[in-house]
């Protein structure tokens, strides 16, 4: 009797997450997959086949954009890690109490503003008539206005800026859990700063590094706003391509195929990342 009620309670508690997964994740993807393997052969005439996927590989623009998006996202992830690790280490290990809380909060504050507004902020800084361009002219470093927007570097800046918090938070959590005496023991046994980083701190922080990287990579890969606004119409970001297939071209079949390819790509990269770093998904995501 009591086990029946507790079991009922268990299923009731499980229901929201199951519903969420089924209705919002699995069902749309099933639909997406069905649409993606549907080929239009005439008005209101459809057949099942892999033609949409074939089209992706036939057209260089499509898979070039695809590869470019993947590589740029990986680079953005690496840059975010390089920038985020020292910040996280400083917050977790070199500060205490109020300072720590304040610094952590300062990392969060930009996220109170919508991503759109933040990206416009970057545009104000980087555009031809923007703050940086004017500043450089005023200082006499450049003679004419400089356009810093609409290039890959601008996209990269935007991507790193957008996702750095998602790197810093898991890193601070894992570094916080590293006992200071382990670092002291490393020094005591004759270790140098570099070897202690390499042999003690980074292995300990690995789950945080991997989970941060997964999140940042996914966010960058699926980002639409930042590449389009900062990269302009030549940004060539794969999500932009999916958008134009769905909305501009009204070619849902090709758009769905693209969406599926993006899903496969991100799963593949995450899988490879886990294999290379020797971490498991449950160990990394379970900790943060």
């Amino acid at each position: 009797m009591s086990s029946d009620t507790s079991r009922l309670g268990f299923y009731l508690l499980l229901a929201p997450i199951l519903l969420w997964l089924a209705v919002l994740i699995i069902l749309p993807h099933v639909g997406l997959f069905i649409v993606s393997i549907t080929e239009k052969i005439g008005p209101r005439e459809y057949t099942i086949g892999l033609g949409n996927y074939a089209k992706f590989f036939e057209e260089p623009l499509f898979w070039h954009t695809f590869a470019r998006t993947a590589i740029m996202s990986i680079v953005a992830t690496a840059l975010t890690l390089l920038l985020g690790f020292p910040i996280a280490y400083y917050i977790a290990k070199l500060t205490k109490g109020r300072t720590k809380a304040t610094l952590f909060l300062m990392c969060m504050i930009p996220f109170w503003v919508s991503e759109l507004v933040r990206t416009f902020g970057w545009m104000i800084l980087l555009r031809e008539t923007g703050v940086i361009s004017n500043g450089l002219q005023a200082l006499g470093i450049v003679s004419g206005p400089v356009e810093l927007l609409y290039n890959d570097a601008a996209i990269m800046v935007g991507l790193v800026y957008t996702s750095i918090l998602f790197m810093v938070v898991p890193l601070v959590t894992t570094l916080d859990s590293l006992d200071d005496s382990l670092i002291e023991a490393g020094y005591d046994l004759g270790g140098s700063t570099q070897s202690i980083m390499r042999e003690i701190v980074i292995p300990h922080a690995m789950p945080g590094i991997v989970s941060g990287c997964i999140v940042v990579f996914m966010l960058s890969l699926g980002n639409y706003l930042t590449p389009v606004l900062l990269g302009g119409k030549d940004s060539l970001w794969f999500t932009g391509m999916i958008y134009s297939q769905f909305i501009t071209r009204f070619n849902w079949e090709l758009g769905s195929a693209f969406g599926f390819l993006l899903l496969i790509l991100s799963s593949l990269v995450v899988y490879l990342g886990l294999r290379i770093s020797g971490q498991s998904l449950s160990a990394t995501m379970g900790r943060t």
């Binding site: 270790g191 042999e199 292995p203």
Partner: protein, 382 residues
């Protein structure tokens, strides 16, 4: 020196240089003096303990020796070399941390070999020396195992092996037995002492547990409020404490406050605040009639009798009633309240004689010799 002449074989010119010398080491934290002008020497190959209550500054002192903190003033010498400004990774000392600080991501062999890897020792050489040191601490063939596969005592030994493989001049131990259960702690005391003899390395051990210090040490420094109260052999510290703090902190003691009623050479007659009259043979303390003193008396110095002794022989004898019996095996004690003045003393209770059946409410006689008590002039509140 002429080979044709006979010279008396000389002892080495100087007595061997102490491994560790501290000269007036002081450490301030803002207004607070954590360590206050501490000076001591630790001879090579000895086991030196720093014993004190928590917050007395012993951890700060140890961390200064290890190099994690820098003295505000004073000098620290290891094997005659000044350590001022030498970072912890360049000092010939190793430290066993309170929670051992074994690296969880590495197996035991890599943990023990960490220091050798930092020194750039060849890999096969590391494997050989790690194997050797693990054998010496009694854990042969565990190199491949993970840290969490070891018991508490084994982890302790791995932590010591990890330091000893580097052949440090001084090994520092920061209360490493604190986290162990009682049985294992008792066992590790003996084992640490024998490991120290085995490696013949200077150990500096800090603890708040007097029994650890008494059992293992060649010399003990008792520390209080950033200062060393006394340095000496365990027996010395226990039997001849020079300050009231040492007398009260090391071992159990009955403490009374009394006024000196009469002095006659070493023999002092005291009246306790409760009106009890006692005689003490005060060999060391310099007291005058009318001055206030603290008296410390060890529980085992008091003899418990069931019948009134025929003569007192100059001993302090009084009649009392047993108010409680605290059975604790060999450490059992009884509290006895004096029949006339109500003064309560704690008496060690042997469990082998007829006294083992002592019960509450029984009338007994206490007797102790005047030379068994220690007497200190009452400290004037500074």
């Amino acid at each position: 020196m002429c080979p044709l002449l006979f010279y008396r074989k000389e002892k080495p010119l100087t007595r061997s240089q102490p491994d560790l010398v501290c000269n007036a080491i002081t450490k301030h934290f803002d207004d607070f003096r954590a360590v206050d002008e501490v000076s001591f020497e630790v001879p090579q190959g000895s086991f030196f303990s720093i014993l004190g209550p928590s917050g007395c500054g012993k951890t700060t002192l140890l961390r200064m020796i290890a190099g994690f903190q820098h003295p505000s003033s004073g000098e620290l010498l290891i094997k005659g070399k000044s350590m001022n400004g030498v970072p912890p990774n360049r000092r010939p000392v190793s430290m066993v941390f309170q929670h051992l600080a074994l690296f969880p991501a590495m197996n035991i062999g890599d943990n023990v070999g960490f220091g050798l890897r930092q020194r750039g020792v060849a890999r096969h050489e590391i494997t050989r020396r790690v194997g050797e040191v693990l054998e010496r601490v009694g854990l042969p063939g565990v190199s491949e195992r993970r840290i969490d596969q070891l018991s508490g005592g084994q982890k302790q030994r791995v932590a010591i092996a990890r330091c000893m493989v580097l052949e440090p001049d001084v090994l520092l131990l920061d209360e490493p037995l604190g986290a162990l259960d009682l049985k294992l702690r008792e066992h590790m005391k003996v084992e640490l002492k024998s490991l120290q003899a085995e490696f013949n390395t200077t150990f500096v051990y800090i603890t708040h547990d007097q029994s650890e210090a008494l059992v293992m040490s060649d010399n003990i420094a008792v520390m209080n409020k950033g200062r060393f109260e006394q340095i000496g052999a365990p027996q010395d510290i226990y039997h001849n404490p020079v300050t009231p703090f040492v007398a009260g902190f090391v071992g159990e003691a009955n403490k009374f406050t009394a006024t000196v009623a009469m002095t006659n050479g070493h023999a002092v007659k005291l009246a306790t605040d409760q009106g009890h009259e006692i005689h003490i043979d005060a060999a060391s303390a310099d007291v005058t009639t009318g001055s206030r003193v603290d008296v410390f008396l060890r529980p085992e110095a008091i003899e418990l009798l069931q019948e009134a002794p025929a003569t007192s022989d100059g001993a302090n004898v009084s009649t009392g009633v047993v108010t409680s019996v605290l059975f604790n095996g060999a450490n059992s004690v009884a509290t006895v309240q004096d029949a006339s003045t109500g003064m309560v003393v704690t008496v060690a209770l042997s469990q082998t004689g007829s006294l083992s059946e002592l019960t509450k409410g029984q009338t007994v006689y206490t007797r102790w010799q005047p030379n068994m008590a220690r007497l200190y002039p009452l400290e004037v509140q500074r």
